[in-house]
Structure formats: structure tokens, C-alpha cells
């Protein structure tokens, strides 16, 4: 029964209120991805988790800040800590800095994730190393809200090197890129602070993107995907 349960997890029980919130979010229209940056809202996101294993470790916190019309809207930002049944390992707490008590006092996961979705709307997501953030968020949404999260993402870890191929040879991590543009971080490994630093990186890449004629989300994603294909041939 146990292994079966793991293979076919049953849909989570949502309260009618939660189901209503989810339905309203699902009903939102998706914006066109070819709108220019100057007329769009993007959400830059970063997550903290109990570890680096995307299959086993669980989501602890989401930080996100919006870039609207090419500017970071400080007030349009969010940081959510998900309530944990058990706090993550001690050595991991040292990294993300969210102590056991706060983890247990966080928002119940379903409500936390609904809050995140409501904040996000259907606007495109931007992250650095999308694969990790995407799988942590996808699994959490599947587990706690029972939905398959199909959303537009763009990965700055691929956009940045595509624009600066020469720097890219020795510049990989977010910290390296922040160094290139002299971007600070008020609290590294805090989800919102990392999201903010990523958003600043995104702004700093804008002039070169515009120079290459990339002025909307779709083209930026294409640029990133092309780079990924070139640099990591299958």
C-alpha cells in the first residue's frame, strides 16, 4: 500500500475556500509572451529547500520580486516560509538561516502556495538555475494543491552567458555574475534577497538584450535555450 501510495499519490484535500482560490487563479488569462519588457510584469523567484535533492528534499521558502515595465517594484515582493512537519537538518539551517521554530511556525503549505500563485498571477517567471527552483515549486504544487504547474520560465544562468560568452567561461554561479556587475546582496541564501539579486542581474542585462534585439520574454527564453543547447550538447 505504501509503495502504491507513493506511485499514485492521492489528491490533497483542499477546503472549499482553498479550492475556490485555486480555481480563480487557474481561470486567470495568461499574458502574451511577446509583449515588450517595457509593458510587462515578470516575477523573479528564488527558493530555499531542505537540501539539493529535487526528488526528496522539500521546499522551505519562496522569495519573489516583480519587475514591472523594466523596474524592480520593491513593494511588489513576497517572502513565504512553508510550515514544515519537521525542521530540516542542522547543517542546512546554517545555509538558509531559517531556524526550526520559524519553519514549524510557517504558513501551512497549501495556503502558502496559494498566496504565492495569487501574487504571481500568470506572469512569466525568471530565475537563476531554473531547473532547481522549477522542480521544487512543481513538486510542492503537485503535493499540496494537486496541480501540474505549467508556466513560462526563463533562466538567467543561460541568458547571461549567451550575452557575455567570453566572461561565461569562468563565470557560472549567481555570485560570480553578481560580482561581474557589482551587485550586492543584503542576505545571501535568503530567498527574497537572492531573488532581488537575480532581479538586479536581470536589469543589468537589459541594455545588451535590447542591443541584440531581444525585447520580449519569448525571445529571451529562446536565446537561453539556444545557449543551453550549444553549451550542453545532448
Amino acid at each position: 500500500m505504501n509503495w502504491l501510495g507513493r506511485l499514485f499519490p492521492k489528491a490533497p484535500d483542499l477546503t472549499p475556500q482553498q479550492a475556490g482560490r485555486l480555481a480563480r487563479w487557474q481561470a486567470l488569462p495568461s499574458p502574451r509572451l511577446d509583449q515588450p519588457v517595457s509593458a510587462s510584469r515578470y516575477v523573479v523567484v528564488d527558493v530555499e529547500s531542505s537540501g539539493l535533492d529535487t526528488a526528496r528534499d522539500h521546499l522551505i521558502a519562496i522569495g519573489a520580486v516583480a519587475v514591472t515595465h523594466g523596474r524592480i517594484q520593491l513593494d511588489d515582493s513576497i517572502e513565504i516560509v512553508l510550515q514544515q512537519t519537521q525542521a530540516s537538518a542542522r547543517d542546512n539551517i546554517l545555509i538558509h538561516g531559517i531556524g526550526g521554530t520559524i519553519q514549524r511556525e510557517g504558513t501551512p503549505p497549501a495556503d502558502a502556495l496559494l498566496t504565492f500563485l495569487e501574487y504571481l498571477g500568470k506572469d512569466p517567471l525568471i530565475a537563476f538555475h531554473v531547473a532547481f527552483d522549477q522542480s521544487m515549486i512543481n513538486r510542492a504544487l503537485k503535493t499540496f494543491l494537486g496541480i501540474k504547474f505549467e508556466h513560462a520560465w526563463a533562466d538567467l544562468a543561460h541568458v547571461a552567458p549567451a550575452l557575455h560568452p567570453r566572461i561565461a567561461r569562468h563565470t557560472r554561479a549567481l555570485d560570480d555574475w553578481m560580482g561581474v556587475f557589482g551587485i550586492g546582496n543584503y542576505a545571501r541564501h535568503n530567498a527574497l534577497a537572492d531573488a532581488m539579486a537575480t532581479a538586479e542581474l536581470f536589469l543589468a542585462l537589459q541594455p545588451l538584450l535590447a542591443f541584440q534585439g531581444v525585447t520580449n520574454f519569448r525571445d529571451m527564453r529562446t536565446l537561453a535555450q539556444n545557449w543551453q543547447r550549444q553549451s550542453q550538447p545532448v
Binding site: V65, T68, G70, R71, I72, Q73, L74, D75, D76, S77, I78, E79, Y119, F181, G182, I183, G184, Y186, A187, N190, L192, A193, M196, A199, E200, L203, A204, Q206, P207
Partner: protein
């Protein structure tokens, strides 16, 4: 979205709070500001704001990077960036407050992140936060106040107990005055002084002070004079009393003591005696007293003693700087003491080698003429004399020159180096009769050759220091008439003055030269001094002091009072920086210079210095407009 503040808003507010004026604002208002800010990025070279922009102007705060302001009006075609702003600084306050477009292009000097706040939110914040409102409307004065606090805090470790020289006399009075009746016997009065342990006895009638007897006077007026101790005390008292109201600041008492060579000042309220302030009260923690120095100068019998006094003047200036005496009072006190020193040197010289029967006046020129001496000042002086009927000026000059030479040498020995340009009374060119001076000045005004213009910047600040002061006054009255008439001359002076630009940087904060320094005198003081002189000559003013000149021209030139105040504050700040610089160089035994490395200033002082240079630019712009340079 954000019902509560999250870590991003908090971090933004914390960052802002490191800088003025946000560090003065209440934290909830800074949070409000952070909540209403967006963050934008500008690549190096990108224009952030320009006069052509149609969008309403927003409020910018630099999070990271350097922003440069460029003047676009056609007055100064090759002008480099006149303004450079760094982390934590904001712009464009003027345009926002006046709801007008900006007059300058603001350009990213490096990659820049700026917080941007909409104009409506900016205005709301000025209403919300008194500190912010204050900052926006009285920017310079505010920064200065802040810096003054820091300076005082820095020095007060050394003199924690000392009251500031700007505190009022009422705060310094420590006891009820010890008084007697004018009719009391000398003996009784002396006994009372002994019993109360005071250095001065004041005779009062219905609380009105009638005379004073100090311990110092007892020797000469009582003992040596062989006074009858049973006689009324009023007979041996000094009745020439120095009085000040209780709200007068301490430095005024210090100045009065220095000027009159006394040790006690009576504090009176509507004529009634409320206290006695002694030199000891003012300087009891100091080794060197102002009136002690001025007395020592007055009574010095040899040049050796005067040299010692000159060193004491430096020490006194140091102490007063440490107590936070403002630059204006401090330079005045230094000038007053230096005047006394010069006077005493002349008196000694005249006693040794009398000059018979020539009416002359020793003139102070340059910074001494302007009452703006700091610690390193070389001498600029001249002589004006009045030949009697039948006397030939050249013959009188022959008599006066050797005399002047000895004075110049004595001043040199006291630490006022001989003037490189030989602007000294011992130079035959600057030892002239009243008529000759007028002829010389007239020539300069008429021809306006480069050397003439240079000379006028030194000589037109003359004032009589010793001797027949009416000669100096007559020359001043003549100049007041002559200068305003020749607008071509004033125009030339303006052209000359505008060659010297405040060094606001293109790449860094400041355009530096010689070992990464700016010259506080040439770049900071001179623009104000020059502009004030030209305007003052134009309106036929009589003042020689730069601040007095600025105050004097306000009405005839219709300059707003708050602009004049800003110029004065800016000028005083530079003077203060200079005094501090000299003080530090003195402490380290280095030669005194006016060069300062901007990197050694704290952030606040660096900002004020920039603001000061900006004010200097503004004054220069007015000069340029008025004289169509």
C-alpha cells in the same frame, strides 16, 4: 501585496538609513519611502534625466554607482560635469520642489542602480517627515549642522567637560556676583574679596554696576599707589566697564576681553548686574587665555616675547577649534590678535627708531584686510602717508621704507612669512601717499592689464590697521566712488574670477591635481572672495570681509536672503575645513598647506564640500550673467 514589511523593504530602509537625510528620519517614514520606491538600472553613459524629457520628474536616490550632472545651458561650453553624486545621494531636489523640468542632464557615470520615487510620493514624504522636509528646503545648512556636530563630537573626547564657546553667558555664570557699595572702604572691599575667594569686586548702587576692582588692580591702584584703605573703594575702581547681556555667547565675552585687554566682563540684564564672567571662567581648562595673550602682546617688550605670543595664538586657535567655535568668530579672533601683534611690533619699532613728523597708516591687505586669516597666512601690507604742504612723497618714502623693512622682518620672525609677490610695505611700490595710491588704483581701473587685475584682488581688500586710519578711510571712500563707474573694469575682473572653477569631477567626485588633492583656498575660498569683491565694488560697498560683503550686496543686487545664507554657510564650511586641516598639519609637525585629499574626508564632509562647490558655481553663474562673461 505587502501588508507587512518583508526583508527586502527592511533591507532597503536599512541601506537608506546609512545616509543623510534618511538617517535623521523616523524609521517608519524610511520604510514608507522604501515601499514606494522602484529600482532601475542605467548603463554607464546613459542619460537618467534631461531637460527634454516630458515625463514628470521623479525623485532619484543612488543605490549604487556614480551619477554626473552636466550643465546644458550655453554659458560654459567646455564645462566638465559640475556635479558628481554617489551612493545614498539624491537628485534633483530643486526641480522637484519647484515642479519644473531639470536644467541639467543627469548621466550615469558608471553602471548605476537608482531607487526612483514618483514626484507625488516625494511631495507626500516632505509632508510626512519633518526631517526630510527640512533637508530638502535647507540642504546646505542642514548638512553643515550635522558636520559641526560630528566635529564637536570628535574633539569633545579631549574636552568633555568644556562648555562650548557658543553657549550663552548665563550658562557660564557660576555664582551670584560678589558686590559692595561704592562708599564701602577699600579695606572692607578687599576683605570681602578675600572671604569669598573672588578675583573681582563690583560696586553696585540699586544693582546697577558702578565700578570694578580686580585682584590684578590691587597692586597698581592700591598698594603701589599708597591708597588710604579707609577711603571709599569707588575711588580706586575702574569705572570703564565692559558689559554684555546674559544671552550673549561666550565668544563675545572672549572678544571683548581681547579687544580691551581686560579679564572680567559684567553680565547685565537691563542694566542690572546678574553676574561676572572672568577669563578664568571662559578658559579655565585651557592653558592659554585669549586675554592673557592679548595682554602679553600689549606688554611685550621684545620681539622674542612676541614670537612666543604668536605661538600662543596658534595654540589658542587650536583650543577654540576644539571647543567648536564657529569659523567666522575664530578667523575674527585670529585676525584681532594678529592685528594686536602687528600693532605691538610697530610700537616697539617706533620706540626704538622714532619716525618724526610723518602722518602715516599701516594697511592690512589680502586676507588680513578681509579679517579672514587662518593659521598659515603670509603677510600682505602697505603704508599710506600724507605729505604736508611742500613735502615730496619720495623723500618721506626714503624715511618710511627702512622702518617698514624692519616691521616686515619682525612679522616674518613671528611666523608670517615674507610675501612672495613682495606685497609688503617695504616695497617702494606699496609705500605711497594718499594721492599716489589713488593714482595707482585709478590706473588699474582704467587699464585693467592682467597684473592690474591681480593686484586689485589683493589691494582692494585693504583696511587701516595702525596709525592715521583716516587716510585709509579716505582711500576707501575714493574707491567706493571710482570703482562702480567703470563697468569694463568690473567685467574684466569677472572674466578673471571665472577662470578659477570649483573642481567638481568628471570621473571621481573632484577634479584633483598634485597628488590627488584639491586646493581649499584656490578652489574653495577664492571663488566666493572674488565674486563678493566684484559685487561689492559694483555697488560701492564699504566692507572688506567676504561675509559682510555678501550681506551688503543682497539688497542692491536683489539676491534672495536664503541664497546669501547658503553662500555664507558654504564659505564658512570651507574655512572650517581649512582650519581643521591646518590644525592637523600642525599637530603632525607638517608644513601648512591648503591641499586636502578628498578621500581623507568623511562621507558627510565630502558631500558638503561638493555642495559648497556647487554653491560656488551658482555664485559664479550669477557673476557670469551679470557681466556677460
Amino acid at each position: 501585496m505587502s501588508e507587512a514589511t518583508n526583508s527586502l523593504i527592511q533591507a532597503t530602509a536599512d541601506h537608506l538609513s546609512q545616509f543623510a537625510p534618511f538617517d535623521q528620519m523616523e524609521s517608519e517614514h524610511v520604510l514608507w519611502l522604501a515601499q514606494h520606491a522602484t529600482l532601475a538600472y542605467f548603463a554607464r553613459g546613459e542619460a537618467i534625466l534631461s531637460p527634454e524629457q516630458n515625463d514628470p520628474v521623479a525623485f532619484f536616490i543612488i543605490k549604487q554607482g556614480v551619477v554626473q550632472g552636466e550643465q546644458v545651458t550655453g554659458q560654459m561650453p567646455d564645462a566638465p560635469a559640475w556635479l558628481e553624486l554617489g551612493e545614498g545621494e539624491c537628485f534633483p531636489l530643486g526641480a522637484l520642489l519647484a515642479s519644473r523640468p531639470v536644467t541639467s542632464v543627469y548621466r550615469a557615470g558608471s553602471d548605476v542602480f537608482c531607487y526612483i520615487v514618483a514626484a507625488t510620493d516625494f511631495l507626500h514624504l516632505t509632508k510626512l517627515s519633518a526631517a526630510f522636509h527640512d533637508f530638502c528646503t535647507r540642504r546646505i545648512a542642514n548638512l553643515l549642522e550635522h558636520s559641526q556636530h560630528l566635529i564637536q563630537a570628535g574633539y569633545s573626547k579631549a574636552s568633555a567637560e568644556q562648555q562650548s564657546m557658543s553657549s550663552s553667558l548665563s550658562a557660564i555664570i557660576r555664582r551670584e556676583p560678589v558686590t559692595c557699595s561704592p562708599d564701602d572702604s577699600i579695606k572692607r572691599a578687599l576683605q570681602a574679596m578675600q572671604d569669598h575667594g573672588v578675583g573681582a569686586m563690583v560696586a553696585v548702587e540699586n544693582r546697577l554696576p558702578m565700578g570694578i576692582l580686580t585682584l590684578h588692580d590691587v597692586l597698581s591702584r592700591v598698594v603701589l599707589a599708597g591708597a588710604d584703605l579707609d577711603r571709599p573703594v569707588i575711588g580706586v575702581m575702574s569705572t570703564n566697564l565692559a558689559t554684555l547681556p546674559p544671552h550673549a555667547p561666550a565668544h563675545e565675552a572672549a572678544l571683548a576681553m581681547a579687544k580691551q585687554g581686560i579679564r572680567h566682563v559684567l553680565v547685565t540684564d537691563k542694566g542690572c548686574l546678574v553676574g561676572v564672567v572672568s577669563e578664568k571662567d571662559l578658559f579655565n581648562l585651557q592653558r592659554v587665555g585669549l586675554s592673557r595673550i592679548s595682554n602679553a602682546i600689549r606688554h611685550a617688550a621684545t620681539l622674542e616675547l612676541l614670537k612666543q605670543c604668536a605661538q600662543d595664538i596658534q595654540q589658542l586657535a587650536r583650543n577654540m577649534l576644539a571647543q567648536g567655535v564657529a569659523a567666522e568668530q575664530l578667523t575674527q579672533i585670529i585676525t584681532t590678535l594678529n592685528d594686536l601683534l602687528t600693532t605691538r611690533i610697530i610700537e616697539l619699532e617706533l620706540a626704538a627708531n622714532p619716525i618724526e613728523d610723518i602722518e602715516f597708516c599701516w594697511l592690512a591687505l589680502g586676507s588680513e584686510g578681509r579679517f579672514e586669516q587662518t593659521l598659515n597666512t603670509d603677510q600682505d601690507n602697505g603704508i599710506i602717508f600724507a605729505p604736508k604742504a611742500g613735502q615730496i612723497p619720495a623723500a618721506l618714502r626714503e624715511v618710511l621704507l627702512p622702518f617698514a623693512r624692519r616691521i616686515n622682518d619682525a612679522l616674518d620672525a613671528c611666523g608670517f612669512p615674507l610675501c612672495n609677490g613682495f606685497v609688503m610695505a617695504s616695497n617702494p611700490k606699496w609705500c605711497l601717499s594718499l594721492e599716489e595710491w589713488q593714482g595707482t588704483f585709478d590706473n588699474w581701473i582704467y587699464h585693467g592689464a592682467p597684473m592690474d587685475l591681480l593686484h586689485s584682488t589683493i589691494f582692494f581688500d585693504f583696511r587701516p590697521l595702525y596709525g592715521a586710519s583716516h587716510l585709509g578711510e579716505a582711500l576707501r571712500a575714493w574707491l567706493q566712488q571710482a570703482a562702480p563707474k567703470n563697468t569694463r573694469f568690473l567685467h574684466q575682473l569677472a572674466v578673471n574670477a571665472l577662470r578659477n572653477r570649483p573642481p567638481l569631477g568628471v570621473v571621481r567626485d573632484f577634479v584633483t591635481s598634485e597628488g590627488h588633492t584639491v586646493d581649499l583656498k584656490l578652489n574653495g575660498i577664492t571663488p566666493f572672495v572674488d565674486a563678493a569683491r566684484i559685487f561689492s565694488l559694483a555697488v560701492g560697498g564699504s566692507q572688506t570681509n567676504t561675509l559682510e560683503r555678501l550681506r551688503e550686496i543682497a539688497v542692491p543686487l536683489r539676491i534672495q536672503k536664503h541664497d546669501i545664507d547658503a553662500y555664507c554657510d558654504a564659505f564658512l564650511f570651507i574655512q572650517l575645513l581649512r582650519l581643521r586641516l591646518h590644525h592637523e598639519q600642525n599637530e603632525q609637525g607638517k608644513p601648512l598647506t591648503n591641499r586636502v585629499d578628498p578621500d581623507t574626508l568623511n562621507t558627510l564632509d565630502r558631500r558638503i564640500l561638493k555642495e559648497v562647490f556647487r554653491q560656488a558655481r551658482k555664485l559664479q553663474t550669477k557673476l557670469g550673467l551679470d557681466y556677460q562673461v
